[in-house]
Symmetry: C2
Subunit: 137 residues, 2 copies
DNA sequence: GACCTAAACGATAGTGATTATCATTACCGA
DNA sequence: TCGGTAATGATAATCACTATCGTTTAGGTC
């Protein structure tokens, strides 16, 4: 049995990710972690994040051309990346249903699904009304 | 109207991506492009790939912790990343249906969907039968 | 066909996120 | 309390990708 030690760093990072609603990046977790534990290093944050992801406690949300976000796995949902502000938001969706539907149609064994939408968040959509978005090109 | 010039580089990269069935990376497209046009540079390949993606002729498939793959957009489908070999495979799926379903349930405007499954490809699944995968850990 | 202009290119340096390395620290079972 | 070792902190390295910039060349005009 592989030994797993509990450390203050691990507890802190876990707490920060699970309590955050903002889909933090490794860097922003590092920043908030440092305010509680100034000696923590960025490498440790990455190491712990990956360990937690591997253990299934959190998910990594890779964003094309931007640093990955991390999120708790408390309920099945997808993500939306705002094309204007780059923010990441939760989208209610039965991901497992999609996984099952695709898996039954498919020659391969599918274990997990990562669903990310591109879109525009409500804040950006609001400011878009005034702007001349549709006039471009 | 923005001027768009046709160049041999652009034609070559387009041809390579659209004719490939292997979801090539930018690097592997660069490699095959060089065999036809040795002077082409990696930066140019990236530039053209992004232009084609922006034009909707191809899609970029970002893979967590690995270089992006590129694929033609001829029909709606998702992708599966094999957890053993890292290969990328097509998965038949009505992505637009998922997009619509999620969009109707959602406070945001969703424009596009990127669906990637984690799984095991047929080749790796075969070799797994003989191996002692479940004994690990 | 020669000329012109700017889009596109090639070469290469730079960037930013993430990972590897390694000496040091500190869990935790004995 | 002690010892083995997992985990950490500091930092160097990597890797995919992007920016820069001088040069080339597509493609319209004369």
């Amino acid at each position: 049995m592989k030994e797993k030690r509990n450390t203050v760093q691990k507890e802190l990072v876990r707490k920060l990710v699970l309590s955050s609603k903002a889909h933090p990046t490794a860097e922003s977790i590092y920043a908030s972690a440092r305010s509680e534990l100034p000696s923590i290093s960025l490498g440790t944050v990455y190491r712990i994040l990956h360990a937690l992801a591997e253990a299934g406690e959190i998910v990594e949300v890779p964003v094309s051309g931007a640093p990955s976000r991390f999120d708790s796995t408390n309920c099945s949902h997808a993500h939306m990346v705002c094309e204007k502000c780059g923010g990441v938001f939760d989208v209610p969706l039965d991901v497992d249903a999609v996984l099952k539907a695709a898996g039954s149609d498919c020659a391969y064994r599918l274990d997990s699904a990562h669903i990310t939408f591109g879109g525009v968040c409500d804040k950006c959509a609001e400011s878009e009304i005034c702007g001349s978005e549709s006039a471009v090109n």
